[in-house]
Subunit: 659 residues, 2 copies
């Protein structure tokens, strides 16, 4: 049976799925379980309202340490006309009795006088040895009935509604339920979700990997999501791409679970069996939803028994698609089964930093970094690739470019569904510019001081442009001026005319050629790049390293066309090193630390200054103060100095002020 | 040894505590544990940064289902000048090879052409039977190097920072850690927290309660808080108020835990042993903090061994104080021990609905309900009592009235630290006015339709006043006009002059006398209230029931002074019933449902109309639409009709329009 991938809009996909769930009778609570009140119930969802069984307090309680009295007996008391009340039973009718806070009011009393407002006396009329066990008390003011008493039901009156059904339990809710006489709560049963990783290319975490092997971690992410949303996830072992094996696994999982997540094989490739398996066990409702990333999702129902079907979701294989499929399809389904409202992200309005394009046919889930620069909250698009899980890790939120839109211009307003607390955005330092490995160390040290460093690697020139546009707090830059031999100053004058900025030294570092271990092609200098058997990997235009290369090539009279791979551009030092490590190139120009990180050889050629360019108003801001603390912190300097090819002697120095 | 309660300001208390922690060497991480990557790690805190061990992808991977090629070999291809590339090895040098998405790029290739852009052919030059296993492919466009390839390191380059230390793990973080070659993570050890309930008046949940018994649930709330904040709580059984027993328990707990919470006995009452126990085992640093509720808190250190001390917190016994002590003292301590930032509430700016007073010496943590009426976000103070745990359950947030302030006037701006998602506030219906038990049922039914009903019981007149001030969406009212016999209309004209409002029927209900079971004092009518041996319990001024009572008393010529207990006022029908049930009064005027709820007798006297008064602009709002749905829902009508003394025949009818 052939099943075709045909994208349909998200609302229609959800409609079809929900209709099938209703018809299948799996639309509401899956069951109710009664559990004893226990701290582990936090996060569980009430299947039924909690009505008070007991009042709280369930008796009239003293609200203070003090003496129970009849208010009427105090009516005549005045400062100069004290009234004496008898405490000891032997001395006559009881008129006052000591109570600790919380003690029940005696039948005969209707008020409490705090102990500090009475004079406790012994038989001789002297201050009592134990002020809580006097013979009599003397009082000099009257009290009104019910003073300092917590009347029965002050907090909760029996029969009243304490918590509604569908409520997600918090710590105080458990206390309130106990206070009003409950020992157990009736909770929505947690949905059982089977997670089935499939794919012959998959290897379990911890197994050795060869090219073509993919570490299977989608099941980990999906299971963690399911548990977080109130379900009970079970991860199955990897099933290879064989129809019969997947078929058997889905049948087995459907027997004992409420939902099956089949990952991946949801596309239409040669070994994508999900749709065929689902069709053979039930029905494919939707194959392909117009969302991106994540469109090859499958929604279906599979038979557990002749009369019962359960839903199955074919989850795409790319990790970003898989995680978003969880958010879009799994979370709302779990919410319905638990009887709670679906989770709702906080949203903020932000300004898009650069133009983005988007396929008009899809709802496009764009990951963005969000931070405040000046008075604007900015949203900077992160990698759009469905395979780039770090784009979700780094994302501060998601902006949806709706179907029908072909993109947005720079500066467009954007609603961002946040993954983070909004206050964190205010503590985010946007560092846009050249990449250096010390920025990762800096991020780690800043995290310990309450700042988040979000860095985007767009090269030195790109960083200065971002500063000009007010889209960054600082730019890492190492732009050599071929005329003067100075770093950064002429570029600052060119890109930031009229702006007052400070330039702070971060590190001195060596630039050189990164080659394979043992330098098999015996590369020694830039001249070797022109050799026909040598393939080079370049940095992108605007990168300081590229400026350095072009300057040195022109000095040496080497034409770029003579260099094989000159047009092959990477955006970071590590990416250049990775290209060399993989054999894609024989060498690239970069820093020593990148070579060492991937165990490559390094031929040092030049010393350069890597500096931070910071607009004056930001330089003095509270946001950046922790940055300067870190730059003068010995532990940070040591960590940087431990990387090869770095000179930290000028770190933190104010190198120049441009105004 | 005598220890005195002496309140000091919160910052100073925290300073002393933190200094002792530093001196005791328990200021940072308590330890590191390495655990295998697992979905249960969500919420755990990284003790160390995660640096990438592997790149991801760790090889050049095809980004599409398609054919691997050398880009150079496609350079000449054009629409009318196709290029043919050989796939089968037998037919010569391999020039193209089919790849599924994710397959590694062969050594000889540097680009991928998607399968939909090629013509797969068999030996005869006809379309191949299996398009993925053709003899040759024909292409009609060139590709550039690295097209449709995910280069090694596209997502993560080995050695880069993936997650910083102190990061709280989310599902996608686990995926990223696995993607870059980690099998285990090094995590902050969870702080072990002993929770010791003490008090001879305490009984465990589920035990029978007698007057004076207090159900012990603070340990449940504290344990749930500790677990939620990343600690590992252990609840101990109740220890009675005996110095030696508490002393032994604290010693025992200190041996195996990082923190001891001793609840309660932190005050200075006759059986408050906490401070003495702590002093005998170590040192009391602070006894009494100028925070309300919660001031009798103790901060101290106790010796585990001759060289090691651990912190102990004496937590006050009132449940609101106990929960707030958790938030103020325990959460930040756990955050520090876990190396994560302390939790940070969202805040909103709201307008205070009514004047509040506050002790000038304390930081006063006021619980508030928050909702939007018109364009104003309003904060309505809830019960200030430290014993009223429902004030925390119902609270949408906390507003702190700082030390030095003696209160705030109505209309003052207020910063509220939210307990709820801000979007929930926008879905909150504020019902202020007369109490009726159907409002609890209504709240339950509305919860199922995405609305939260926050009701405050201030009596019918109070509700109309709240509408006038723009502080409520609707008011429940049953105000009889003694002149006309009509309900509500004349009061609306008086309290809401010139305002256009709608009046909607909720229920007809019987008012009558609530008496003890069996009616031992043989009360039959309002005339009996004047009998000297009968004690009455009244409703507050402005309540519809009070208006009814006063009207009938004047009709009957009975003077209020003749009624014992006339000045004893309660705010709800249930509170009146509770007063009768407890023996505090012999009877009160109220509704049948309240009598039944507490198993009391009811002597019906009058029929009345309980109606909802709703300003026109709110009547038509989206916020209220679900309310009208519920009013016409048979299940809701049945639930109300099942209560005694209710008539639902007119429920939902538009009774009157006033403009």
């Amino acid at each position: 049976m052939a099943v075709y991938l045909h994208d349909i809009p998200l609302p229609e996909a959800l409609d079809r799925f929900n209709q099938a769930l209703r018809q299948g009778g799996c639309d509401g609570l899956l069951g109710v379980e009664e559990l004893p009140l226990d701290e582990r119930l936090v996060g569980r969802v009430l299947a039924e309202p909690v009505w008070a069984r007991l009042s709280s307090p369930h008796y009239h309680a003293s609200a203070m340490d003090g003496f129970a009295v009849r208010a009427a007996a105090t009516a005549e008391a005045m400062l100069n006309q004290p009234v004496t009340l008898i405490c000891a039973a032997s001395a006559g009718e009881k008129q006052a009795a000591y109570l600790d806070t919380g003690d029940p009011l005696p039948d005969w009393a209707d008020a409490v006088i705090p102990i500090e407002n009475v004079e406790p006396l012994d038989e001789a009329g002297l201050p009592a040895a134990n002020p809580r066990r006097p013979q009599v008390i003397r009082i000099r003011a009257s009290v009104t009935p019910w003073s300092n008493v917590r009347p029965m039901g002050e907090d909760i009156v029996a029969t009243q509604l304490v918590l509604p059904a569908g409520h997600v339990l918090r710590p105080v809710d458990l206390g309130a339920a106990a206070a009003c006489g409950h020992t157990h709560l009736r909770l929505a049963r947690r949905p059982r979700v089977a997670i089935l990783p499939t794919g012959s290319e998959l290897v379990e975490i911890g197994q050795p990997v060869r090219p073509g092997d993919i570490i299977e971690f989608n099941s980990l992410v999906l299971a963690a999501q399911v548990n977080q949303w109130g379900g009970e996830a079970k991860r199955f072992p990897i099933t290879p791409d064989r129809f019969e094996d997947i078929h058997r696994r889905v049948q087995e999982a459907a027997a004992e679970h409420d939902l099956v997540l089949l990952n991946a094989g949801s596309s239409a490739g040669s070994e994508d069996f999900s749709a065929r398996v689902i069709a053979s066990l039930g029905e494919v409702l939707v194959h392909g939803v117009a969302v991106r990333p994540g469109h090859p999702v499958i929604l279906g129902m599979v038979r557990r028994s002749p009369t019962v079907s359960i839903p199955v979701i074919g989850v795409p294989g790319y990790p970003v698609s898989a995680a978003l499929t969880g958010e879009i399809f799994v979370e709302p389904l779990l919410a319905r089964w638990l009887g709670r409202p679906p989770q709702e992200p906080l949203t903020v309005e932000a300004t898009l930093t650069r133009k983005v394009t988007s396929p008009a046919g899809d709802d496009d889930y764009m990951r963005v970094a969000v931070g405040r620069v000046g008075d604007k909250l900015l949203a900077a698009p992160l990698s759009r690739g469905a395979g780039v899980i770090t784009s979700l890790v780094r994302a501060d939120g998601i902006a949806i470019l709706p179907r029908g839109s072909q993109g947005l211009p720079a500066g467009a307003p954007l609603t961002v569904r946040l993954y983070r607390h909004p206050a964190e955005l205010e503590r985010t330092i946007f560092a846009i510019g050249s990449h250096d490995m010390t920025l990762d160390l800096l991020a780690q040290f800043l995290a310990g001081r309450g700042r988040r460093l979000a860095s985007a690697n767009v090269g030195s020139q790109g960083g200065l442009v971002a500063l000009r546009r007010g889209e960054a707090h600082l730019a890492g830059s190492h732009l050599l001026d071929p005329q003067t031999g100075e770093y950064n100053l002429s570029a600052i004058r060119q890109y930031l005319p009229g702006r007052a900025v400070k330039v702070v030294a971060l590190v001195g570092r060596q630039q050189g050629l990164i080659t394979a271990r043992g330098n098999p092609k015996d590369i020694r200098s830039l001249q070797d790049l022109a050799r026909p058997e040598v393939t080079f990997v370049n940095r992108q235009r605007g990168a300081g390293t590229r400026v350095l290369l072009d300057y040195q090539l022109s000095r040496l009279g080497i034409a770029p066309e003579a260099i094989r791979g000159y047009t092959q551009e990477e955006y970071t030092h590590l990416a250049v090193a990775a290209a060399v490590a993989s054999g894609r190139a024989d060498c690239g120009l970069g820093i020593a630390a990148a070579a060492q990180a991937l165990d490559l050889d390094f031929i040092p050629l030049y010393d350069e200054h890597y500096e931070l360019v910071i607009p004056d108003e930001i330089y003095h801001s509270e946001l950046l103060a922790p940055l300067f603390e870190v730059l003068s912190e010995p532990a940070f300097r040591q960590a940087v100095a431990a990387l090869p090819g770095y000179d930290v002697s000028r770190m933190g120095e104010l190198v120049a002020e441009v105004s």
